[in-house]
Amino acid sequence: MHTSATERITDWAVWAFLWGFRILVLLIVVVGTIQSLRSGQYTSDQWIDFVVFGIARGSIYAVLALGYTMVYGILRMINFAHGDVFMAGAFAGYFVANGFSRTGFLERQPVVALLIAVLFAMLVSTTIAVVLERIAYRPLRAAPRLVPLISALGASFFIEYSFRGFFGPGVYAYPAVAPLAGEFNILGIGVLKMQALVVVAAVIMMAILYTIVMRTKIGKAMRAVSENKDVARLMGIDVDRTIVATFAIGAAMAGAGGVLFGLMFHQVNFLSGFVPGIKAFAAAVLGGIGNVVGAMVGGMVLGVFESVGPALFLGGVGIIRPYQLQDAIAYIMLVLVLLFRPSGILGERLSTKKA
């Protein structure tokens, strides 16, 4: 293979640009950090708060990313409607919680009431996801890769605007749950009870999912289908059932996540799933898409960077209103990570055929 002079020059220019890009970002990070730490604008307690808030925020991303990652691992398909399945769960949980709150059951038996709300939300989310799989995805399993992506986008709009039709464009707010108000004191750090709950729930969900994928029969089937659908079928695995189970489990996680979201932030409306959905997708990619633990790590990293970044990096280099650019931090960090590790933090080296 011959390389002409121009090709060598472009290659060199690209190489220089990429390193320039990395160094620039690094410079902003370092200078920003030094500046904002030196300015003493924030106390050390406030820095700890930033990190704690970031972990809580990341946990919500992580819960959603779990579903993304599972579906992707098996079908190599970005299920854009996953965020909307999450929104549906939040709505379902709202109606149960609100009903219980009116009858006073929520105050008398908060744990039971919330469990019922979570279960109902999981049920609704799972139903929607399974129907979706049957109608919008299954007929497209053999189609070119982008076709199910567009179908998923369509499904996303369809769910969002169906819910707008059902419940109107207004905001619905979860009732306040007394035992979840206030904060714990863990090692001298004040942590909101709600945030602690979200983090714990996310970790538990990840553990359950990990066990399902690694230890159960259906998990084994999932891994087999993920490797090669045709071979799995030859081995006697019911591919359709395995895929439906994947969707159902992912959706159940999303439904539970929806209720957590509702309890933490109180409000739901028909577009509540859109932004978290995209962030969760980013988190899944960041952690290495297709990898359950990666989804968790990706979510946490994304959450913490989003939380700390505006104050630490951007505020430090003198950018005004840094919170407008919070998402920009997340995305640029994502690109940086992908530059160094093209398949995410915990991602396997993709064989090029799969990509």
Partner: protein
């Protein structure tokens, strides 16, 4: 190739239909002559002749009087436009669905809260010669994009919810000849809030948050300028995004600046998140919170929960809203099964009624029931609106198109239960 053939033939068919439907010029009924006097005389037996400078609408017996609403009906801001649309529909219901013996027909156009959405909606409405007048748009951006097309078509629109000051500035230009609003300009609101904070609350260190919308950004800037002019200090000006949910971090940054007063004139969703989470951030527990009319709704109490207790909201002065407002809200709830979705439903109701009044004033009714409405005459009549008794107050339109009563009051929430929402008692008026 067959495919090409069938496509081409379809295209030809379609364009023939369109060409048949259209005309090079949407000619007014008569050549534009000098504007005649307003045709207020009772109908002559002789045939009506249009002498209006920009044409007339003729409504034959049995045809409806056609008005339109344009505003945001989909996407994240849908509740703003839908709320106004409901106000218009109730106004039509209250008129018995008829005007001058004709049914009233309402067309709605989604303008998407963007300038190009506004432009597209306006082009479509401008192409319909049966439309008499319009209510809209919802977002100021839509008006910026669409108003030229409407004015050029001889139409007049009254916005219930645009608050950008420039839209009714004296130098707003001839494109805005067909534009009025019943909403107030933010130039008044920001000033009132600054005076309240400095003089009544006695705070000297303030912080603000906006959500990146043209409305909030301009309003908080008006506040900041006025607050500084009074001698106060603005220690932090931050911004979030409309679709943010987790505000803990931005609030921590604000807490680091140690303000006494936090003003965030944004909308219900993000406003609710900030209010609820401000109580959870160390250093902000005792800071006075204040929002504006974008959050003045029982929905905000639901969204913000118990944290809304004791906070302040600025809003049009509801104590000057006549009793009719409460009846209106009852009708709204019965018809749509929800509490008002946003704040400008009453302004939309009034805008519609101003249009109805003006139509009644200028319409010429023939013996057979045909109604003729001169477009310039209608526009003039709307601008001439004086002491109109609406449910947002007594309205008089200025020559720059400001019809809203610019009387802003500050309210305090005394009970965070949304069911107790009743402007006047909860939230209670505290200033002026």
């Amino acid at each position: 190739m067959k495919r090409t053939f069938s496509l081409v033939s379809l295209l030809v068919l379609a364009s023939m239909v369109l060409a048949a439907c259209g005309t090079p010029t949407a000619a007014p009924t008569t050549p534009p002559t000098a504007a005649g006097p307003e045709p207020t005389t009772p109908p002559e037996p002789a045939a009506f002749e249009c002498t209006d400078a920009i044409g007339c609408v003729d409504i034959a017996p049995g045809d409806p009087i056609h008005i339109a609403f344009w505003g945001v009906l989909s996407g994240a801001d849908a509740s703003l436009g839908t709320d106004s649309q409901y106000g218009v529909e109730i106004a039509i219901d209250d008129a018995g669905g008829t005007l001058l013996g004709h049914d009233v027909q309402l067309t709605t156009e989604d303008a998407l809260c963007t300038p190009e959405g506004g432009a597209t909606a306006a082009q479509k409405l401008a192409a319909d010669p049966t439309i008499v007048a319009l209510i809209g748009s919802s977002c100021s951006d839509e008006t910026v994009g669409g108003i030229a097309a409407l004015t050029a078509a001889g139409l007049t629109t009254i916005s219930p919810s645009n608050t950008r000051p420039a839209l009714t500035a004296p130098d707003r230009g001839p494109d805005y000849a067909g534009y009025l609003r019943t909403a107030h300009s933010d130039a008044f609101q920001g000033k009132t809030v600054a005076e309240f904070a400095y003089n009544v609350l006695g705070v000297r260190k303030a912080a603000t948050i906006h959500d990146g919308s043209a409305y909030a950004q301009a309003l908080q800037q008006v506040f900041v300028d006025n607050f500084k002019a009074l001698g106060g200090e603005v220690v932090a000006q931050e911004a979030v995004k409309k679709d943010d949910t987790d505000m803990h971090t931005v609030l921590t940054t604000i807490a680091a600046a140690a303000p006494e007063f936090l003003y965030y004139p944004i909308f219900i969703a993000a406003g609710g998140y900030i209010t609820a989470q401000a109580k959870e951030v160390a250093g902000l527990e005792n800071v006075t919170l204040m929002g504006s009319d974008g959050m003045f709704s029982p929905d905000f109490l639901t969204a913000g929960g118990a944290a809304t207790q004791d906070m302040y909201l600025s809003s049009p002065d509801f104590s000057l809203f006549p009793a009719g407002y409460q009846t209106f809200v009852d009708k709204y709830k019965a018809k749509y099964g929800t509490a008002p979705l946003s704040i400008f439903h009453a302004h939309a109701y009034d805008a519609t009624n101003i249009i109805f009044e003006a139509i009644k004033k200028v319409a010429v009714v023939d013996a057979d029931g045909t109604v003729h409405i001169g477009r310039q005459a209608l526009r003039d009549a709307i601008y001439a609106t004086k002491d109109f008794q609406g449910i947002t107050g007594t309205l008089t339109c200025s020559e720059n198109g400001d019809c809203g009563a610019p009387v802003i009051a500050v309210y305090q929430i005394v009970n965070s239960d949304a069911a107790s929402w009743n402007p006047g008692t909860n939230p209670k008026k505290v200033y002026p």
